[in-house]
Each structure stands twice: as structure tokens, then as C-alpha cells.
Assembly symmetry: C2
Homo-oligomer: 342 residues x 2
Amino acid sequence: MATMKDVALQAGVSTTTVSHIINDSRHVSEELRQRVSDAIATLNYQPHGPARSLRTKQTRTIGMIIPDNSNPFFAEVARSVEDAAFENNYSVILCNSDGSVKKELNYVRLLIEKGVDGLAFISAGKDPQSIEMLVRQSIPWVVADREIPGADVDVAVDEVLVENLAGGFKATEYLISLGHKRIGCIAGPFQLTPSAQRLMGYKQALQGAGFTVDPDLIIQGDFHSRSGYENCRALAALSDPPTAIFACNDLMAIGALKAAHDLGLSIPQQLSIVGFDDIAWSSFSIPRLTTIAQPKQEMGRLLTALLVERIKDDQLTHRRMTLPVKLIMRDSCAALSSINAP
Amino acid sequence: MATMKDVALQAGVSTTTVSHIINDSRHVSEELRQRVSDAIATLNYQPHGPARSLRTKQTRTIGMIIPDNSNPFFAEVARSVEDAAFENNYSVILCNSDGSVKKELNYVRLLIEKGVDGLAFISAGKDPQSIEMLVRQSIPWVVADREIPGADVDVAVDEVLVENLAGGFKATEYLISLGHKRIGCIAGPFQLTPSAQRLMGYKQALQGAGFTVDPDLIIQGDFHSRSGYENCRALAALSDPPTAIFACNDLMAIGALKAAHDLGLSIPQQLSIVGFDDIAWSSFSIPRLTTIAQPKQEMGRLLTALLVERIKDDQLTHRRMTLPVKLIMRDSCAALSSINAP
DNA sequence: CTGAAAGCGCTAACAC
DNA sequence: GTGTTAGCGCTTTCAG
């Protein structure tokens, strides 16, 4: 491959001039500029990234660590991160951690070696060892959708969160407003913050309405459709089953929709369901799913913007943005009627 | 950050020795090995990728160009590419082209500059200009899910394809075997090869059964749910509507399911639908979708394996693998009954 | 078994 | 306006 030296030779100038022309970093006469452009074209020259990175100490690449890019929610966030990165002239290295701390740590190490300019954790970054590593190397990093185990990090981390608690609250409050009194909850893994907060919102709404929280009505799922399916069946099998269910993500809500259908329960007449996320699927389920929408695209864009800013200036103070969620009323909920009243 | 020189100094050895220890590239006495390990640990040394790449001419990074990672089909393929790459010690740079030739070309240029060791095109790589660029720089590349506009490329390209034609054939044949005589087809964009082949399979099955192909029954969609929805309505509005529909991907099939539901058509009693892809969603739709399964995971793994092999040895002869598809019978099809017979 | 030194392709003082 | 030159951090001959 042609190098800059070849171009310089061909154009009869120094590599300095070539470099400055390519990077537009100092004024060069029109004549030389033209000669160099021609040389570049005829030699088919393309700059060599790694060599440039070695000098400039930047790769214009960021790492994105995510549990699973094939989960529709993460897929949409990942997509918007990539879009925003591209617009800012950054490439993104995709890393699926499956939520494993070990895999995450491996990726962090790898990414640091690759010389990434920054790291975006999406629903990840909960491993103190990984974080310590980043901090030690002073690599900029940002987090979305999961709070960092707080106090032990005395470092500026930018976070993009959503109103998980408010979302759980709104979902439940809505069901209450429809007259439901026994409202089940298919929760996510309790140890994950978004999950715990949504559940908390559910409980607070219940208590706010003067209901007691019945632990039998709360089941832990794993955010996958199958667990929504099974947990919905479990809830329906209760001696005093709920007339409405808040599923803590859409994947589980859709599993619940399916379970209800298989049980011959018609939705929303006999059972109301509300989800969380508003993935594309939710507009095409039968019935269409009422859900709490997260601003997935905005999350990705904002996350990337924060990272890009921090790469430029690591003195910035810590920023934590909490994005609003919104109840999207579709067809999976109905007022409690005499049909299914206790 | 600590460099190799620092480590060498600290351990009282040459950088040569440090390098050889790190890369395990020649024998070193146990004593020095230990001293160097200690130095690495105390200095928290991590090798600098770009510097290494500058010397070795490899980055252990591949580029993956894909239309849209948030499309469930591509998401699953992308996931398995990333998994396989990770296992082979490669990182993957994610590039969403939206099927745009221009974006694709930009990415190719960018990736070459980054010095990627290879490129994986998934449903992309149809732009001759991009290809020419790759070929000129002799960067290894492989393609999945889309045939390269053939003859003009006189270069070894590895391709992973699926039996699209056979898939379209099987889907249609199955519907015929259920007694359907008027079978509609919601096709993908005609200009894409997988799409065209599935449609061809549909036509061949029809003709094989002695039916004539009715052009009114074939509508072009865009592979998104909404177009499945609208085209199903269009088909249903025909004066002599079909009793079964083959949708060329699951996203459109699910849109069709929804349209049928909205029209009050019960599936499968009044309308049978078969999809293509077998995305996760299809097992949870109502009813569950009968579809032609593509081996998505195998596609990704195989694609990556081929790329890794070609990176190792660019003399390999061109390989084209065509993976089998499989009819998955679920609940969206039924025998033509007297109820909906013409 | 170990080390000296050249150089990968580029950028950026520093000169003129 | 332009060029000379010294590295960036690493690998790898070549020499011993």
C-alpha cells in the first residue's frame, strides 16, 4: 500500500505538506494542494489509522458493552449509539457481555489495549474491577440504564437513566384507575436497579391507593418472553388471581399475552396487561400492548453525546440525566368489569 | 501510561525480552520471566494496540456492515458474528448501512483506514465501488445473505447463503398441500436477491402444482411489519382474495397476522399465513407463526469462520456455502375448509 | 538465552 | 509557505 512518503515523492513535496493537507492543519498553496491531491488519487493512497493513532493518541473508536444486541430493547439503543457515533466520526466496537462480569472485564481490558477513546456501558458496568481499570487508565466512560454501585466510585461518571420508578408507578396507577384491585407484577431480576425501581414504583402506586402489597402477586422473571409466559400462567393459577398484570418489560408482557391467550383468557376483557419499553413488537402484538415507553433513541444519542464531550474534556463535572417515560395506551388494558370482578 | 520500555527498565531487561515474554515468541529463562511479570503487574502495564498494529500490520479487528442491527433477523446474525469473532480473538466494528450504497462506501473507506483485518458484509456489499476498493487493497471480505453482482468480480469471495428459493418453494408447497388454491405472496423488495429467490420459489411451487401465477396476488413489501400489515389488507380487499399468504419475512408475516385480526379474519381458520426467518417473536405471536427457519446463528458463525480462514490464507479458493432452511409448523396455517372455500 | 537497533507510517515541533 | 527531523510504542532481524 502507498504510504504518505510515496505521495510526497510523487508530488515532489515533503511528507509534512502532505500531512497538513490531509488534516487541513496549516495553509498550503493551491498549487501544492493540487499536486498532492493528484498524487493521492493516482496512488490510491489512504492514511494508515494505526500509525496515526500511535502519534495522536486517539483512535476515534469507542467501545460499547451491552448485555445482548439481539434483545430488541438493547438493539434499538445500540443502533442509536452507532448512528450518533458515526455522525461524530467515531466507530463503535460491539461487545456482548451477557451480563457476565467476567466477560465484561475481558472486554474492558481488550478495549483499553485497542486504545479506544471512550467506553459506553449499556446496562453494564457494574463490575468494580472493570471500573477501577478504566479509572486507572483514565479512559472516559459513560453508563446508560443502570446505576453504578455508587459510593465507591469517587469519579466523574456520566449516566443516562430513565424514570424507572415513575414508570412502574404510572403503569400501576393506570391499572388502578381502571378499577383493578388485584394487580400482579412480573418483575425483572431483583438485583438490577432498573428492575428494582420499576417494582418499587408498582408498590408505591399500590400503597398510594391504599392497597396492601400482596407478595403472592409479585413474581421474579428474567426479562425474556418465556418467563413472562410462565409467570403469567403462575399468576393465573393463583386461587385469587389478579385481574391485571404489570410486566416489567415488553418481552415478558408479550409472553404474558401469549399465556393468557393459551389459557383462554381474553385480553383486555378478562385480564389487563401493561409492559415497559415500547419495543417495535408492541405495536403489532394482538392486542397491541399498552406500555411505558422509554426514549430508546434519545438514550443512545444522549449517551454518545456525553461520551464525546467527556473525551474532549475530562474536567467536566459528573452529569446524570434522567429521561422521562410515557404511558402509551393501546389495547391490552380495560376497565375492570363485572365479568372479571372478584 | 507505562510503556514496554518502562517495564524493561523496571525488570532490568531489554524491551526485546519483554516483548518476547508477552507474545510468548521465544524461550526466556524462568528468572527473567518472573521479573518481567512482576514489573508488568506493579506498573499496571498494558500493551498499546496501535503501536503493535503499526508493526505487525494487523489489528485483530473486523468490520461488520449490516443494514440495520435493530432488525431482529440481522440482530441475531450480528450477535453470532460477534460471538464467533470474540472466540477467535477479533473485535468487531458495527456499521449500519441502511442498505445505502453511499453509507456503505463510507464505511468501507473508514474501515480500511482503521486497518481492519477483514470485512463481513451481511445483506450488503452490493456496491461495485466498495468492492473494487477492497480488492485493490486486498482486504479479505466475506458476504452473507446476498449474492454479489457476480460476473464483474473476478476475485475469491466467500459467501454464506441460504436456500431462499427452496424456502419459498417449501412454504408455498405446504400451503398447497393444505388445499389452498389462491395463495398470495407479500414479497420483499424485488431487487434484493434473497427476496427475488423466495418469490421465485413461490412461483415454481405454484406452477409445479399446475396453478397459474396470478400477478394480482403478489405484492411488493419492504420487509417491515407495517408493509405486511398494509399488504395483507390489500390482498384481503381483492374481489377474489387469497385463502393463504406467504410473507417473505416474519416481520411482514406478523404485520399480516395483525391485519387479519383487525379485519376480523381468524387465523388459521379463515386465512393461513407462513413467514420466513423464524425470529424469536414468531414463537410468541398469536397464533404462533408457521415459518421457514433460517439458521441465523450458523450463518454468523460460518461467516466469521470463513473470514478468519481467509485472513490467515488469502490463497484459498472461493467458497460458497448454501445453508438449508426448514419449515417450522406452528399455528398459523390450517387446511382449507369449506368455511373459506371459494 | 539475551540485547541493540532499525523502522512500521504518521504528526508536529522547530527551523527557514 | 514549506521542509527536516525526532519520535509515538512496539516487533524483529541480526549479532552475540
